[in-house]
Amino acid sequence: MDNCTYEKLDISGLDAWFGDKQALKGVSLRIKPKTVTAVIGPSGCGKSTFIRCINRMHELTPGNRVSGVVLLDGVDIYKSVDSMDVRRKVGMVFQKPNPFPNMSISDNVVAGLKLIGAASKKELEAVAEENLKAVGLWKEVENDLKKSGASLSGGQQQRLCIARALAMRPEIILMDEPTSALDPASTAKIEDLVKTLKAETTVIIITHNVQQAARISDMTAFFYLGELIEYGETRTIFESPKSPLTERYITGRFG
């Protein structure tokens, strides 16, 4: 119990299935608050399934199943919390930027709050500005707040999506390869942003790019065939991995 209070996320014995196919096998790990955790591993290793179990999106597809315990601030998100509330506490940013094209830039930022009717118009404006500033987009869009979210460039759209997730004041932000569809300059901006985010929140980021993991994360988790092979401080994982599999992966010999 003494550990629970200071772990943001405490996952134990997490299994996940797509129908009969087991995608995650007995994953256990603890994540400290205000850190960035990188999740790496070859395609199909269960990285996405893993993070989708943290905001309860894995179970949405009929036939999918999850078992195990996921404690967020000590509370079991599969037993004691409604799935909608879990997703309000655990934000997500996707691989492909997905702003709502039927909403303006500022409405996109506050979409979550607006759609659940959680704030007044005045509050929403302030929230939009605050979060656009947090992702460094404010100066670029200040005069275009009423334009469609789809009118922005890919990198700007992704930052808009991060602002949208941040506006919910999440405890955790999950990111599923957020830079893989972006150019290098936009990628660098998002990487810098991720580093600043941990002042306020806890970030779990999937990346295919091991250099990116090394640059931005405090902790790294390496998955292979649905199992968590190695988890520890990023520097340790990169300098002296315990598992030969981890070493082969991060040195680019497979994956």
Partner: protein, 281 residues
């Protein structure tokens, strides 16, 4: 040698398809031209502001029929468009592979092929024979039912092509399903829904058979939505067969107005669709 024959075949196919296309367009142009040529001389201020003159007197207009068509179409839309949208929404977002869903899907699809006179006789049987007089409400009911499958199909198709990325984005924000469906998926698909609704409106603007059983006709301004009401369609039918030279001319004029209404709606549809692509949906 073979090369030449292949090129010749190619040429024949091209000219043949062009010739047949022109052949197919001729009747259409013919109709439009005769409607314009015959109709234009009937149109003047009295024609579009007055009511029909009593038999034997000359002059008069068709304003009551223009008004009636718009009223009945509006009432049909108020009923048909929301029901169509909800049906399409159900088929796109909630329907499963079960028997119930497939029964709904099949009936929506076959509904659009049912001849319009059937809807007329249906409205006649359940409304007109019960209230014992012709009424515009029955016409709106018949036309509204006809709009449902068109709007439902358009809604279903445009909601289905909304990328799952949008649904996932909304799910990840903790937005309940019905809010996601209405505010996000329907919101993104709105171009297609508007297009479908306008096309359904255009479609019912040309229907005559259901009106003969229901709204019938009137020579006067409407006195209430539960009364017989003049429409352009029935006016064309009555006046064209009246045998009076002037009335026949007025029927042409009414036809021109009706064609213009339908063309105008199609132009609006084009504009809406173009905007949809501009937004990159």
């Amino acid at each position: 040698m073979r090369m030449v024959s292949r090129k010749n075949k190619d040429r024949v196919a091209r000219w043949l398809s062009l010739a047949i296309t022109v052949l197919a367009i001729i009747p259409l142009l013919w109709i439009i031209c005769s409607v314009v040529v015959n109709g234009i001389s009937a149109i003047n201020l009295e024609f579009i502001t007055g009511v029909p003159a009593p038999y034997g007197e000359s002059g008069g207009g068709i304003a009551n029929a223009i008004f009636g068509t718009l009223i009945i179409n509006a009432m049909a839309s108020i009923f048909g468009i929301p029901v169509g949208i909800l049906t399409g929404m159900y088929l796109s977002e909630y329907a499963t592979k079960g028997k119930f869903s497939s029964a709904i899907r099949t009936s929506v699809e076959s509904f659009s092929g049912v001849p319009s006179i059937i809807f007329g006789i249906f409205a006649f049987t359940i409304i007109v024979t019960n209230v014992r007089h012709y009424t515009a409400l029955a016409a709106a009911f018949a036309l509204g039912i006809m709009m449902i499958p068109i709007v439902a199909k358009a809604t279903e198709e445009s909601m289905r092509v909304v990328s799952d990325d949008m649904r996932e984005a909304a799910i990840a924000l903790g937005v309940p399903k019905w809010v996601r469906t209405v505010k996000i998926v329907l919101g993104v698909a709105r171009g297609g829904v508007i297009t479908g609704s306008l096309l359904a409106f255009a479609r019912i603007s040309g229907e005559t058979a259901p009106l003969l059983f229901t709204a019938l006709f009137s020579f006067y301004w409407p006195t209430g939505i539960d009364q017989p009401m003049a429409t352009l369609q029935v006016l064309i039918y009555n006046f064209a067969l009246s045998g009076y030279q002037e009335r026949v001319l007025q029927a042409w004029g009414a036809s021109l107005l009706l064609v213009m209404l339908v063309v105008a709606i199609n132009i609006v549809v084009k504009i809406v669709t173009r905007q949809k692509y501009k937004e990159g949906i």
